[in-house]
């Protein structure tokens, strides 16, 4: 028996197929993962992401602490409510986790980290925070529901109370705001517009049911994975790990190199890798032959070392198989992938594959 979110019984009642996900019993789909995927691209779907870990950092030194803790520069957050995507690195420049940080008050920042890495993340953050006198407070009483898709905002807004509705209607992408016990952010993990809503756990089932009544499709974590893969968004544990640098995980853009004097954890190691020039790069692959790309398959590049698929699956939007892969730096426009004992032809593309319902790669 795994851990259960406040929506567990609701999922059961609504016909979800539940599977273990990092120790949690979570819905993988409610019937068809592919239909749910299409609904998020075309209309609106919702995900229970209450298993994710919400951590508040409270104290007058919260900002200096985050300047040190995070690879991206928290000083990019000057407007209240603004969010930042970042890696949290170890001294060797490996990725402990990726996370979103929200700037709420000068003495209050909120982090959302992965559930699979909760324990090690909290240990690491608490260990680093003591020198700054910052309190690390997990908000485990909060449920989290992500509503995503082109019609997500229209379907959510009427269900919010007055204060949250006004705030949410005015939110710019990648901002969040708290009113009462609710925190509404215009963020997500699908490549579509929408909200991620944190709310008291005892209100989660009622809100979920109201969303369903309002035409929002319950979705499982199955399609969340194909949606984020199409959107070219990394998954921790697959596309990056503690032993791998963000520079070869497609995350160079998240490293706040400037100002030079900002001393974040992992900076020295990263700078060394950057100066040496990474031997690998992180790319998207589009399978041209029939078949399905899967994690850990071997990528064969002529005249170079092998690469590896870090996330592979079927793209419901494109109707073919796609992947994220770590390949030799000299890889050109084509490669082959070893799929079940055969070498299949693939094209190298720049992720994302799909954003806001539209294919961004050319299908031939």
């Amino acid at each position: 028996m795994g851990k259960k979110t406040p929506l567990y019984e609701t999922h059961q009642a609504m016909g979800a197929k539940l599977v273990d996900f990092a120790g949690w019993d979570m819905p993988v789909h409610y019937g068809s993962q592919i239909e749910e995927h299409h609904i998020v691209r075309r209309d609106a779907g919702m995900f229970d992401v209450s298993h994710m870990t919400v951590v508040d950092l409270v104290g007058s030194e919260a900002r200096p602490f985050l300047r040190h803790l995070l690879a991206n520069n928290v000083d990019k957050l000057q407007e209240k409510g603004k969010a930042l995507y970042t890696c949290m690195l170890n001294e060797q420049g490996g990725v402990i986790d990726d996370l979103i940080v929200y700037f709420l008050e000068e003495s209050w920042f909120r982090l959302v980290v992965n559930s699979a890495t909760r324990d090690k993340d909290l240990d690491w953050i608490v260990g680093q925070a003591s020198a700054f006198g910052v309190d690390v407070i997990e908000q485990s009483h909060l449920a989290m529901i992500a509503v995503q898709g082109p019609r997500a905002r229209d379907k959510v807004l009427p269900l919010l109370d007055e204060a949250n509705r006004q705030a949410a209607a005015d939110l710019k992408p990648f901002y969040g705001e708290e009113h009462g016990d609710w925190f509404v952010a215009r963020t997500g993990y699908t490549g579509e517009d929408g909200f991620e809503i944190m709310l008291p756990e005892d209100q989660a089932a009622g809100f979920w049911s109201a969303l369903k009544e309002n035409g929002v499709q319950p979705c499982g974590l199955g399609c969340r994975d194909t949606l984020r893969l199409e959107a070219g968004m990394n998954l921790y544990g697959s596309d990056m790990a503690e032993s791998v640098s963000p520079l070869v995980s497609g995350l160079n853009w998240t490293v706040g190199w400037r100002p030079q004097e900002r001393d974040f954890i992992g900076r020295v190691a990263l700078q060394r890798q950057r100066d040496a020039g990474p031997k690998e790069k992180f790319v998207g692959l589009l399978l041209e032959d029939k078949g399905i790309l899967r994690n850990h398959q071997r990528v064969v590049v002529e005249g170079a070392a092998d690469g590896e698929i870090t996330s592979g699956s079927f793209s419901p939007t494109l109707g073919c198989s796609i992947a994220l892969a770590r390949v030799p730096a000299q890889t050109g426009e084509r490669c082959q992938v070893e799929v079940r004992g055969r070498l299949l032809a693939a094209r190298v593309v720049k992720p994302p594959f799909v954003r806001n319902g539209k294919a961004l790669v050319e299908l031939k």
Partner: protein
């Protein structure tokens, strides 16, 4: 609850087998198997003429989540494969015992199906798994 038609025979690898009037055997994966796999997105079937042993991997069914081999429940020669699944793999989800069949075999022995489970035994087997 998944369907388990009474006129079919079943394997421990979740294939079904149907005896046709002409002596051939049609084979597919069970409703329980397709339900466990989820939405299928790719099916690869063998060429007609291929000889297969019992328990030999002879087709591949891939869902969004994972790839699975289909094992021949009995030995025989492939006389027909369901090529239509290449473009419409979801038919296996929709109609596992009908349009979603995978291959038709000419069995090596005439009592080939006797080693397989009947519907009741298969239902019990699924519940015990």
């Amino acid at each position: 609850m998944s369907e388990t038609p009474g006129d079919l025979r079943y394997s421990r690898n979740h294939e079904w087998a149907r005896a046709n009037d002409d002596g051939s055997i049609t084979i597919g994966i069970t409703d329980h198997a397709q339900d466990q796999l989820g939405d299928l997105v790719y099916v690869e079937v063998p060429e007609p003429g291929r000889e297969v042993e019992a328990e030999e991997a002879c087709a591949v069914v891939e869902s969004v989540k994972a790839a699975s081999d289909m094992y021949a429940p009995i030995a025989g020669t492939v006389i027909e494969a369901n090529e239509a699944l290449a473009d419409k793999p979801e038919v296996v989800n929709q109609d596992a015992y009908g349009e979603g069949w995978l291959i038709r075999l000419k069995p090596s022995s005439s009592d080939a199906l006797s080693g397989l489970m009947d519907a009741d035994a298969y239902r019990e087997f699924v519940e015990s798994e």
